[in-house]
Every structure is written in structure tokens, then in C-alpha cells.
């Protein structure tokens, strides 16, 4: 198993760090999802109506 090549949450990670990390990942994925969601709708409407 090549565990050393993969990230594991550090044992020393504090609760605050984890909270920040959760917030950061959530925001990134929310932006990606919202970008896809509204992006697809807008792209299809704009390109389709040409």
C-alpha cells in the first residue's frame, strides 16, 4: 500500500484548522457546483438561442 503518497489528516490538526478546512472545501465545491448548475443553464440558453 502506498500510503505515504496520499494525504492523511494530521494528528496535530486543531479543531479550528479543521473548521477552516471544512469551510474552504465546502465553499470551493459549492462554487464549482453553482458554476456548473447555473453555467450549464446559461450556456445552453445563450448558445441554443443563437
Amino acid at each position: 500500500m502506498r500510503e505515504e503518497t496520499l494525504s492523511a489528516p494530521s494528528a496535530a490538526r486543531t479543531q479550528a484548522e479543521r473548521r477552516r478546512s471544512v469551510r474552504r472545501t465546502a465553499i470551493v465545491f459549492a462554487l464549482i457546483a453553482a458554476g456548473f448548475y447555473f453555467g450549464f443553464i446559461v450556456m445552453m440558453l445563450v448558445r441554443g438561442s443563437k
Binding site: 489528516p9 471544512v22 448548475y37 443553464i41
Partner: protein
Amino acid sequence: MAEPLAHAATHDDDHDHKPHGWRRWVYATNHKDIGTMYLIFACTMFFIGGGAAMLIRLELFQPGLQFFDPQFFNSLTTMHALIMIFGAIMPAWTGLANWMIPMQVGAPDMALPRLNNFSFWILPFAFTLLISSFFVPGGAPAGGWTMYPPLILQTGASFPMLIFAIHLMGASSILGAINVVVTIMNMRAPGMTLLRMPLFVWTWLITAYLLIAVMPVLAGAVTMLLTDHFFGTTFFTAAGGGDPVMFQHIFWFFGHPEVYILILPAFGIVSEIIPTFSRKPLFGYEAMVYAVASIAFLSFIVWAHHMFTVGMPLAAQLFFMLSTMLIAVPTGVKVFNWTATMWKGSLSFEPPMLFALAFLFLFTIGGFSGLMLAMVPADYQYQDTYFVVAHFHYVLVPGAIFGIMAGVYYWLPKWTGNMYDLKLATWHFWLSTIFVNVLFFPQHFLGLAGMPRRIPDYAVQFTDWNMVSSIGGFGFGLSQLLFPYIIWKCVRGGERIGNKAWEGAHGLEWELTSPPPYHSWTTAPSDAVIARGAAH
């Protein structure tokens, strides 16, 4: 269980501040409560969608129109599919993810509990809206779950209800998927590396990425339908310069990955169960992870195999045929590894293992008929026949549904602290397995003989196998009543179990008490506990 954890768990139970009564459920932020609500919702939808299926089989018992007019029959097929896919299977997976992922990665809860509440509570509104469309003028949508224009644009007052319900379901799925990704990426216990995660967590992580990638495509497609219907656009109307085939491309770009959204978590569950009841580590853990990732990737480049007959360049037909066949390679790796896990194992056949084995055999039948459908010349014959119906029902019923049942029978003792009635669950298994084959296997013959799908009447030469199929349908439907009864009986009591319900089980969830504490891992499990759990 580690000592500090045991203390924390007790402490948490005494002072968990959990709300009581209806507030516990409406304001739920606990992953187990939300998981339970998802599973109850999915079970309810399974019986509503199953009721529609039994009405379909009732109408098809004999040739001629027996009970329903063709419009209502088409509404039944459309709503059966929408309810089963979006209301039963997907929420059941999300329910299992909610219950198990925090416990399996060593987290106290999901990363975003309020979002979790929101993504669940969207669903009852979406399905109330969808199902109530039966009662509006023109009846429920009848253009098929694929919603192909121009037919779907002829839907009556229920059309905007359908579109809005689909947007709601999509939003719920995306929010749930974000929660799963954030939880797995951030909430794993120290030492729980990616390649120590249980296969169920892996398959759900990949499923979540698929959801985030493809649900917006469906949203875009149905929004274009909405504007074609109400705002005078002609995206899919040939008379206005639009192209109905474009909808099929967009829909299936969503639709094929959707098939894997429905089945990948079942791969994860089977990969948990077979090692447990073989009393051996999973054969080829890393290969399984890469195989799931490969299947997910390939699912994006095969969509046009659903529409070979619309007419496309030969090069495109060849590309989509060969890329589809390529999926057999990682799928074959998985089937080989499950078989190799059992090889020389000390096997026992409790209900979860029985369902997992039925999955292995019957899902493979669905895979083989999928390969037949992937061949362009053959598909020209099979397109829109009952052969296709038989194929995808073999994938989704003994595939996805049996996977869900296997998972519930595997973890139910952990959730409740009680062992369920094993004898009754074994009865449930045998009745389900026999009737599911009586129900769907004859549909291969009907399709090969030329019976088209989505029709309420048929030529008399198809009568015998339709009768057999309907008898199988009634038997399968009725035998499912055992499932909620077994669960209800188990929740009310039964033989108490320890932390481990099954002798050969590995994984962090089995280190917790049964039932587990309100917040699963308030203190992270030690590395030794994690290593013991990751027995692959």
C-alpha cells in the same frame, strides 16, 4: 473501543442536547437521524413506485386494454421510473452514506449538518409536487422519464410541476454530494489515509463527484424544455430551427453517469460484505478503487449508445460502441476480485451475503445484456424493445436495490443494537430472488421477439411471457412487504448484539457500541483501531 472514546460516548449520551419529539426530526442535524429519515423516505417511495409497477404489470397481464387508458398507462411508466430513480434509490444511498460515512472514517458527524438537513427536507416537497401531478388537468407527465421532446412538450398542467420537481431533486442531490465530499476530505480521523478507507466510502466519494458533474446538465436540459414550452424558444423544435436530437445528447450526457450514480455505492457495499462473510480480506483493494474510478470516467464518454438509432456517423457509432465495451474491463476486474475474495474463504450465508451473491450473479446478467446492447447492429434490433427493459431492470433491481437491501441487512444490527429475524430475512431473500427472475427474465424473450416497450397493449403472441412476468411482478412486490416488517420488528427488539454483529466484520463502525452513540466519534480513534479496521 478506546477508553477515552468510551467515556466521550457516555458523556455525549447524557448531555447530547438532542431535541425531542418532532423537533428532533424537523430540525435534525445529526447524521444518523438524517440518515434514518432518508431511508424511511426512500422506503416509502419504493412502495409508491412499486405500486405503479404493479399496476403496469396488471394492465399487461393480458393483451387488450384492461383497466387503464393509454395516457394513464404512460403516466404510470413515467412516474414509476422517476419515483424509483430519484425518490427511492438515490435517497436510499444518501441515507446509507449519512449513517455510515462518519462512522467509517472516524468522524463525529457529517461536515455540514445544517446543509444535510436542508438537502433532505427538499425531497418531500419535490415528490409531493411530482406525485400530485396525477391530480391536475391532463394528468401526470406521460412522455417517459427521459422526457424526450417534442412528446414531453405536449404535457398538460403538470409540465412545470415536473420541471420544478426535477430542479429540486437535483439541488438536493448536489447539496448531499457536496456534504459527502467535504466530510471525506476533511473529517477523516488522523491515520485514516485515502487508501485505508472502506470501499463504501470510496465508491460514495466517486459517486459524489459524478453527482456534482452531471446533475447541472439535467438542470440545463429541463430548463431548455421549460423555455421551449412557455417562452417561445425552439431549442428542440424542428419547426423553429431547433433539434430534438440535441436534447437526447444532453439528456444522456447526464443519464449515463446517472446509471453509475445508482450502482457504484452498491459496488462499495458488496465489497464490504463479501470479505466479512468470506472471513478474508478483500482481494485487490487498490485495483477495486481504480476500477471504480475508471468506470466513473468511462461513464462520461459512452452516452450516445442510448441513441444509436437516431443516426450518427459511422465513426461516432464505432467510438461509442467500443468505449461502452471498454467498461466491461474494470467491471470484470471487480467481479473477478469479489470471486477471488471468496476463493478458499470460510463462507457463511447470512442474509447480507445472500443478497450480495445474488447481486454478483444477477448484476452480471444485466452487464452481459448491456454488452449485447452496446453492439450497434444488434442495438438496431433491440432498441425500444422489452430487451432494454429487461437489461436495465437487471441492473437496477438485483443490482442497486439488492445492494441497498444487502447494506441494510448488514448494518441494521449496528444501528439498532438488535439482531433481526434472520429466518424471515432469508425468506425475504429467496422470495425476492426467485420472483425478480420470474419478473424480468421473460422480458428478454419478449424483447427479442419484438415487443416494444411503453405500450399498454400488445400482440397476442406475447401473452404467455407477459403473464409469467406479471406473476413474477406481483410475487416480487408482495414479498417486499417483509422488508419493512423485519426492520420494524428489529427496531422494537431482538437478540442484543455486541459491537460486532458479524464475526468477520472489519471497519471502524464495528468498534463503536451497538447502537452507536448519538455523535459517532467524539474522540478520534487511535491508529491501532484504524489499522485493525482497515483489514485489506
